[in-house]
């Protein structure tokens, strides 16, 4: 089909400004994307990210190594070894989550009878070797970045038999 003069006018003089109008319209709008490493977005309240282990108000670990999180875990990502402390209490000597296996379903959080584990909003798990993905107690028993605004409501702040 022969291109007529009118056709040429339609595609250049008229269509081009129409298309560019959309472009220029967004130039002055607030961008949808974030400058990711520099700016981070707020996650939804129930977002399930990296695990944290919680402490009681007096600083003792909440986890008693009961094994229910490991039993609930569909990916079999949790490994733990209990031990007895000097008071005769049960605690987790070893507590490891394999973050490569973990599917972040949050069952561990739901199963936990001591409100010891919860999934926070952190999601940056990149690492350059596989061993780095096995998170131990030291990695998870840290103060989480939103200490003032907890990710999860904790109902019992003190230990069961505090004297």
């Amino acid at each position: 089909m022969l291109k007529t003069f009118w056709d040429i006018i339609k595609t250049t003089v008229i269509a081009l400004p129409i298309g560019l109008y959309t472009t220029f319209k967004h130039v002055f709008k607030k961008p949808v994307t974030k400058k990711y490493p520099k700016a981070k977005s707020e996650m939804m309240p129930r977002y399930r990210g990296l695990h944290y282990l919680e402490r009681y108000d007096d600083g003792t670990e909440r986890c008693v190594c009961c094994g229910l999180c490991a039993a609930a875990c569909p990916a079999d990502a949790i490994y733990m070894e209990p031990d007895e402390n000097e008071k005769g209490e049960r605690f987790a000597k070893v507590y490891e989550i394999n973050m490569i296996r973990c599917i972040f379903c949050g069952f561990c959080e739901e199963a936990c009878p001591e409100e010891a584990i919860f999934l926070g909003h952190e999601f940056e798990l990149a690492n350059d070797n596989r061993d780095g993905f096995i998170y131990s107690k030291d990695d998870m028993l840290v103060e989480h970045p939103r200490k003032d605004r907890p990710y999860k409501t904790i109902y019992r702040r003190t230990r069961r038999h505090s004297m």
């Binding site: 008693v64 039993a71 008071k87 209490e89 049960r90 230990r159 069961r160 038999h161």
Partner: protein, 864 residues
């Protein structure tokens, strides 16, 4: 049929004892069932496969109806009845599932949860707890409680869980208790112990040890297992691994000869615990502490991990190839230069029967020597085999469960609780339930005293005189059966001492008591004579065995009812596959059939001859598999010098022992849980056990070791594991013992009791109650019961010598001396002492001579 808790159904009734019972018919949930009279509604329902929840009920304990969980609706009863304590009556109409019953059970559970702390996350019972299961089933998820829970605080040091240690192994948490009293009932009814009790009452009930005591009885582990909640837990399983994470493997106790069935709980890393695996033919579901905690040596950090080879007087680690090629080279040299009679082998009594058979085949069929034995703890192994009487009684076709039908049991020379825990409990059951009369005769008082009608204490080394006295009593009073007077008079002439009076005087027991025992035995329909470890370890056991043979014949006692009990897990297995110098004709024929070759001609040597011959340099190469004669065989210095004289000694063991220290090559050996196999228990019952965990890389099983040595010597044994298992089973099955000849009588002559003027006290050496053999000192739990060797002494003798408990005492005999702490005995009275030989730190066997046993003198050591 499986009942609750995975246990086979057991209906408690008197028909256990072989008596016919009247039948009653009742209706449960619309279905009719006929049961024996005396059966409870709960047992009848269980037989029909109807589950009724319980806490306080246990198939082997009497019902007390303490927990009220098993409520059922019985027509015409005004209110719900407890099924476990209601006897089934003709025409009874029972409903177990009405709304009313469910409501009643929910009410019971709610009351139980009133004070329950709900600390399931930290409770060791979590996951196998009856309360958890029932609460989950009945859905009690709301609490109506408005006040605080009861909390029993005994120990102020733990502010978290209110745990209290009430024994070396037992931890009690009273908050969790539902007061079912199972623990106390077990202790009283089954074990005959009274160290656990319920104090206070109602809501304040506390289960605790008797004041000033600990729960340290020999069966105490069972109370933890039967506790329906986590009120009683043990140190062994404390905070280890959740039960649903552990794998379960069927296994057997690897120590004593009863063959108690256990379940091993383990994962890839290690064994975690052992629980009972009810076998009504053997253990009734109760296992002793040695079976329960005696698995721990497998996980010991002291295990040998690599072979050691002696180089320039020092044992240095080496590779398996090096070790095996050295063994094969030296064995070949000895065989070629001096002949195969210079080679010998000893195997421990807890190696599997397959290992024992392969060991036998390797030595007999490939190395062509008859020098092999498994009896490594007893003196007086005369000739190359035991006497006819001894062998006949040793291999008697005894069954543990039949003991319940006995009317008289005569226990001769055995501390049953120590030697045969399962038989001991069976005897107690027979006594308690069926009124069996028990008589005992021992060199010292034993734990069976409370059930025995007459406990006779003969002076040491007079077993033969005692049995001769008993035969005198039978003949004098004409209690004998099956023979005539002339024969009886003839038998009487074969006895020494020649009269009852003399015999009674020698063994220190009144004549009347011996006559009374003879009378009771002769009047009984189904009498038993059981001989145990004191008998077997006595200096002149063959003479006594002759007496026992005569006694059985005089009284017409059944073949299965007079037995000398074997002592180790696979003693009977080793005996049946022929790990002894001389074989029975029957076994010889079986082996020739199997191997297609004649057996070696040489007479063969037993343990004591092997050691003697090595002293005389007639034996040059010795292979010891899983045994420690240097620590266990009497007369330590003699054994040590015999082992030193050997040209070439190979020891395969789990640990470095006194024996392995003398070896030219030490091989690390796999334990029983690291291989599958079978044991033949004291009854001759062939029982399999499964492999629970893989052995460490550098460790091989006995079967692998024998195979690799044979391969290196170019002697193919040509047996894979499956074929080995089948062949062993065939041989065990084909075993036939020579039956007792009822017309035959042997001489019973008491040996001269040597004078011991300077050494006045008789020393008994044996297993401590919480130890067995030389491996249990690697079990931390058992070490908590008895942590160190001691000298057990009677309080009156101690008072005479001015010895207090815990003071150091010097013990001296002709062959050696020792210093040990004294401990007062609950049972001993006279001049008898006891030292356990389960601790490698003390060479107790150095005090014992091979001929006369141990005679010692003791003195208090100065406080310096």
């Amino acid at each position: 049929m499986q009942g609750r808790n995975g246990l086979p159904v057991c209906v408690k009734n008197m028909s256990d004892n072989g008596k016919e019972k009247e039948q009653v018919t009742l209706t449960i949930d619309g279905k009719e069932i006929s049961v024996d009279k005396g059966t409870t509604v709960l047992d009848a329902a269980t037989l029909m496969g109807i589950h009724i929840p319980t806490f306080c009920w246990h198939p082997k304990l009497d019902s007390i109806g303490a927990c009220r969980m098993c409520l059922v609706d019985v027509e015409k009863f005004p209110k719900p009845a407890v099924a476990c304590a209601t006897e089934a009556m003709p025409g009874m109409i029972v409903r177990t599932d009405t709304d009313e019953i469910v409501k009643a059970r929910r009410g019971v559970l709610e009351f139980m949860l009133l004070n329950h702390p709900l600390d399931c996350p930290t409770c060791d019972k979590g996951g196998e707890c009856d309360l958890q299961d029932n609460v989950f089933h009945y859905g009690i998820d709301k609490s109506r409680q408005a006040f605080t829970r009861r909390r029993v605080i005994d120990d102020q040091t733990t502010d978290a869980f209110d745990d209290k240690r009430i024994g070396p192994e037992i931890i009690r948490n009273m908050n969790r208790c539902v007061t079912c009293y199972k623990c106390i009932r077990f202790n009283k009814e089954i074990a005959g112990e009274y160290d656990l009790g319920a104090y206070e009452r109602g809501n304040h009930t506390v289960i605790d040890a008797a004041p000033g005591e600990q729960i340290d009885n020999f069966y105490s582990g069972n109370v933890v297992e039967i506790c329906p909640v986590g009120a009683l837990t043990n140190t062994d399983w404390r905070y280890k691994i959740r039960n649903w994470k552990a794998k379960q493997t069927l296994s057997l106790c690897s120590h004593d000869a009863d063959g108690q069935n256990i379940m091993l709980w383990h994962d890839q890393r290690q064994l975690w615990r052992a629980t009972s695996r009810r076998n009504d033919d053997i253990d009734d579901g109760w296992i002793c502490n040695i079976a329960r905690y005696g698995y721990q040596y497998i996980n010991s950090p002291d295990r040998l991990k690599t072979p050691l080879i002696k180089k320039e007087g020092k044992q240095v680690p080496a590779s398996w190839d090096e070790a095996i090629s050295l063994i094969s080279k030296r064995f070949k040299e000895i065989k070629d230069s001096k002949g195969s009679v210079c080679l010998a082998g000893l195997i421990g009594g807890n190696q599997s029967v397959e290992t024992a058979y392969l060991f036998n085949k390797f030595f007999r069929n490939k190395l062509h020597t008859n020098n092999l034995d498994y009896r490594l703890e007893y003196i007086d192994l005369k000739g190359s085999d035991e006497t006819e009487a001894y062998n006949c009684l040793y291999r008697a076709p005894f069954t543990i469960a039949d003991l319940e039908q006995a009317d008289v049991v005569f226990v001769f020379g055995s501390n049953f609780i120590k030697d045969h825990p399962a038989i001991n409990l069976r005897l107690r059951k027979a006594y308690r339930k069926f009124g069996t009369k028990v008589y005992t005769a021992n060199p010292v008082e034993t734990k069976s005293a409370d059930i025995s009608l007459d406990e006779m204490i003969y002076s040491p080394d007079t077993e033969t005189a005692f049995i001769a006295g008993l035969i005198h009593a039978i003949i004098d009073n004409k209690y004998y059966k099956n023979i005539d007077e002339t024969k009886a008079a003839e038998v009487k002439t074969m006895l020494a001492p020649a009269t009852l009076d003399e015999a009674a005087r020698l063994c220190g027991i009144e004549q009347e008591r011996i006559v009374n025992l003879a009378k009771v035995l002769s009047e009984a329909n189904n009498p038993y004579i059981l001989a145990g470890d004191y008998f077997v370890a006595s200096a002149k056991r063959h003479r006594t065995a002759n007496g026992m043979y005569d006694l059985a014949n005089l009284l017409g006692i059944k073949d299965s009812n007079a037995i000398i009990l074997a002592s180790q897990a696979n003693s009977m297995g080793a005996d049946r596959v022929g790990v002894r110098p001389r074989l029975t004709e029957n076994l010889k024929k079986t082996l020739i059939d199997k191997w297609g070759e004649e057996l070696p001609e040489s007479p063969g040597s037993n343990t004591s001859q092997i050691l003697n011959n090595s002293l005389d340099e007639e034996i040059d190469g010795l292979f010891i598999l899983g045994a420690n004669p240097a620590m266990r065989y009497p007369d330590g210095p003699f054994v040590n010098s015999a082992l030193d004289k050997l040209d070439f000694l190979v020891v395969a063991d789990l640990f470095e022992t006194a024996t392995s220290a003398k070896a030219d090559v030490v091989l690390p050996l796999a334990g029983w849980a690291e291989q599958s196999g079978a044991y033949v228990n004291v009854e001759g019952r062939y029982q399999k056990f499964e492999k629970a965990q893989d052995a460490d890389k550098g460790i091989k099983s006995g079967i692998e070791i024998i195979h690799s040595i044979a391969r290196a010597m170019d002697l193919s044994l040509n047996l894979d594991n499956a074929a080995l298992m089948h062949e062993t089973k065939d041989i065990v099955d084909a075993f036939e013992r020579e039956a007792r000849d009822e017309a035959k009588f042997f001489e019973v002559k008491q040996a001269q009791i040597p004078e011991h003027d300077n050494y006045p006290y008789r020393l008994l050496v044996g297993n401590d109650i919480h130890h067995f053999g030389y491996v249990t000192e690697h079990c931390p739990s058992l070490m908590r019961f008895t942590p160190e060797p001691y000298l057990e002494i009677s309080p009156n003798l101690a008072e005479k010598l001015g010895i207090d408990e815990e003071t150091l005492v010097r013990i001296e005999s002709t062959t050696g001396k020792l210093v040990l702490k004294a401990r007062f005995s609950e049972y001993f009275e006279g001049d008898v002492l006891f030292i356990p030989n389960n601790f490698s730190a003390t060479e107790v066997t150095g005090l014992v001579s091979r001929e006369g046993g141990g005679w010692v003198k003791i003195e208090k050591l100065d406080d310096k």
